[in-house]
Symmetry: C2
Subunit: 225 residues, 2 copies
């Protein structure tokens, strides 16, 4: 079955205390975003990669590709107002083939394992959707009107990407009007009425959002994923 | 106000793929547990430290202290059947002074910042309880009978330690019969009827439970906390 991966890198990097948007920061000598694209081509050399980038960053990205001699083929779509709109733009580059599969992945999660990607594609191929998730290590509390209450941790899962779906269904789900409750692709698909299947994620598959995460990233580079 | 810290290190290290219980694994050249004890003495040199260790590990710990010339004063209590029972044993070494404060801290969280400890003690001094917590980075889903559903991440907090309480109240809470729903000290105190106050934790304050966490720990050793 034909496979696509939409890598969403719309972040402005405001949380990084750095001028450079976080997806461009070099880790182990290479911009993060290149590591992320390579994680998918390592899984399947025939996967079609679509990178969603703000228009204002596309020229810089092209110059980075030249500088780092990054030759991995990929299409580029324009970043949108929100993540939802960015994914919509990426989906426009995916042909209408109901039986193909699309993965949506955060550009700043370069340490997704081959196993995580593979399980998610296999599950989506069978059930139409797949969302990798891991058990929380910490206790979780829910804020209430006047305090907080403990949740049953054994019933909770921390959600990662890639979130993988059958193309036809995902495209229909993304025709819905935008809602602020759309925090990830699973929430869009669920609102559309399609159930979500959970698969196993990998703990190293962190979302790199802080300077601390960048230090952890240097460690992750040395792991066999 | 007199301060105590009970460091709970009951873990058998079964998740580490290593014979050595995880609290003894050296990070940056020193067993984890020593780093944890030092985090509290660095915060307040007069704090009374109580280490809760399984009886079977106490002799080994003493030999480590000699080997590493670890001279930080600390009392030792016996580990119990569960974390609840370990904390009960630790509390027996805390004098009955209603106005003192007790912190309960995971032995495998060596990278708690001085600021996290300080805020928790200050809050508990004022309100009787304090539990440090941070915002989740990932989306969170809750398992249901036949699938899962998205939770509102903006209402969730990931709980850390030290959890700090007024001694008198905490000792009374720990007189309750054991319940499997007691996942941390906050849940024990809450069941007793005392509200929980949340303070700010620090992202580096991870619970070291996997080989990956140990690699991250080597990074954390280099940070100013």
């Amino acid at each position: 079955m034909k496979k696509y991966a939409i890598i969403v890198a719309g972040g402005k990097g405001l949380r990084m205390n750095a001028g450079l948007p976080k997806q461009f920061i070099p880790v182990n000598g290479k911009p993060l975003l290149m590591l992320t694209l390579e994680a998918f081509s390592r899984y399947d050399n025939n996967i079609e990669l679509i990178l969603v980038l703000p228009v204002s960053q596309q020229e810089y990205w092209q110059s980075l590709c030249r500088q780092y001699e990054f030759t991995q083929a990929h299409a580029i779509a324009n970043g949108g107002e929100t993540r939802f709109h960015s994914v919509q733009n990426g989906l426009m580059l995916v042909p209408d083939a109901a039986e193909s599969l699309v993965a949506i992945h955060d550009g700043v999660r370069p340490f997704v394992s081959r196993q995580t990607i593979s399980e998610a594609f296999n599950c989506a191929g069978e059930y139409g959707s797949a969302v990798p998730a891991i058990d929380p290590v910490d206790s979780v509390r829910s804020l209430t009107g006047n305090g907080s209450e403990a949740l049953d941790r054994t019933k909770l899962k921390m959600v990662q990407t890639p979130q993988v779906f059958k193309t036809g269904m995902l495209k229909e789900a993304y025709l819905q009007p935008f809602s602020p409750s759309f925090t990830d692709d699973a929430s869009v698909v669920e609102k559309y009425g399609h159930p979500i299947r959970l698969t196993e994620g990998n703990r190293e598959n962190i979302k790199i959002t802080t300077p601390f995460d960048l230090l952890v990233a240097e460690v992750c580079c040395k792991l066999p994923l």
